[in-house]
């Protein structure tokens, strides 16, 4: 479960760096390098997250729901609890 929180935390970092890029775009009017720096940070984090996801899937830590494709089963009999 903690892996999910880690993924969501990194994704939140990506959203924050993207938002800061927009803020600098509006504020600095193209005269500084703050927008491109924020966006560089954003793409670096995104690449890192993608590699982490691939590694976690490869190591079997997370299992995507569609990774082992099989025909979607029809509704099964009621599970008696």
């Amino acid at each position: 479960m903690w892996i999910r929180y880690l993924i969501i935390a990194i994704f939140s970092g990506i959203l924050l760096s993207l938002a800061s890029g927009l803020y600098y775009l509006v504020k600095d009017k193209g005269t500084t390098k703050r927008t491109v720096k924020a966006l560089s940070f954003r793409i670096s984090l995104s690449l890192g997250l993608f590699l982490l996801l691939m590694a976690l899937i490869g190591l079997g830590v997370i299992r995507p729901h569609g990774l082992y494709p099989q025909r979607h089963p029809v509704t099964q009999p009621h599970d008696t609890r």
């Binding site: 990506i14 927008t35 491109v36 966006l39 995507p64 509704t75």
Partner: protein, 288 residues
């Protein structure tokens, strides 16, 4: 009337907004008719899309021409940037609605149907036979039989393609900031190519889903959220690619300088936004 640096530029009467409104109306009505089995809907949709292309070509041309004529002062520049901010706000709300639908289905309604939390009566009284977690074809098999989309293969490849395009647009951005026009154009062209490749793979994925996996818009909540999210994202990639082509040509013509390049920065940021939305899709639709 002549314009000075202190005058606020008031646009002339323009026919482009009404063309845009008609084009978007036709596109949406056409798509709705088509999805509901009305054959003429497809024709209406394509006329709408053609009108949108015509409008973008004409309206972009007008704005670029006015900009090159020196009609825009600092105040207009501020208006453009604020317009961008509101546009992005509406985009965030747009995608939030579809991601919200996905979360509602996955985190609330499906568990309720399974009898969790306070939804046990729904399960016990209405859908006793329902015991599927995500991805589901819904109670009573409303979505029919289908195969869920894999994360490996095309989705992972497409994620890599879009992330690579994020790298190339950033390299182009840095090249522009140091005044290297050649490399700026080169990396922009690479970004366009990567965007087009992404779209080609997505079209292939959709055809495969419909013909080989029976996964359609009618495949219950999984199919409808899958196609709504990835489809609207694909539409944004298409628009982004068109805008990238425009700024590639403009960069090649020398329209941008290291300190004056709002169009470039606006499109580059938009491309990063589309990239992040895809990453969100990859995580929440395909992987988790």
């Amino acid at each position: 009337m002549t314009h000075t640096a202190n005058d606020y530029y008031v646009p002339h009467g323009s026919h482009w907004p009404i063309v845009a409104a008609i084009a978007m109306f036709m596109t949406v009505i056409g798509a709705a008719l088509w999805f509901n089995g009305e054959l003429n809907g497809r024709m209406v949709l394509f006329i709408g899309l053609g009108l949108i292309a015509f409008m973008m070509f004409g309206w972009f041309g007008t704005v670029i021409h006015e900009n090159l004529q020196g009609m825009y002062n600092d105040q207009v520049d501020r208006s453009f940037r604020q317009g961008m901010m509101w546009f992005i706000f509406s985009e965030v709300m747009f995608f939030a609605a579809f991601f919200g639908a996905l979360f509602y289905a996955r985190v609330l309604s499906v568990p309720w149907l399974l009898g969790m939390d306070s939804g046990f009566t729904t399960h016990d009284v209405l859908w006793q036979g329902f015991n599927e977690a995500w991805p589901t074809n819904g109670p009573g098999d409303v979505g029919g039989e289908f195969e869920p989309m894999e994360a490996w293969g095309i989705p992972a490849l497409n994620t890599l393609l879009l992330l690579s395009s994020g790298v190339t647009i950033t390299l182009s951005h840095w090249a522009l900031k140091v005044g290297d026009r050649g490399r700026c154009v080169l990396w922009l062209a690479a970004t366009v190519l990567l965007g087009m490749t992404f779209l080609g793979f997505q079209a292939y994925e959709y055809i495969h889903a419909y013909t080989g996996m029976d996964l359609t818009l009618a495949s219950g909540i999984y199919g409808s959220t899958f196609f709504m999210l990835t489809g609207f994202h694909g539409m944004h990639v298409t628009i982004g690619t068109v805008m990238l082509i425009v700024i590639t040509l403009r960069a090649a013509k020398g329209h941008f300088t290291a300190d004056n390049h709002f169009a470039f920065e606006g499109v580059a940021w938009y491309w990063h936004f589309v990239d992040v939305v895809w990453l969100g899709l990859f995580i929440f639709v395909y992987v988790l």
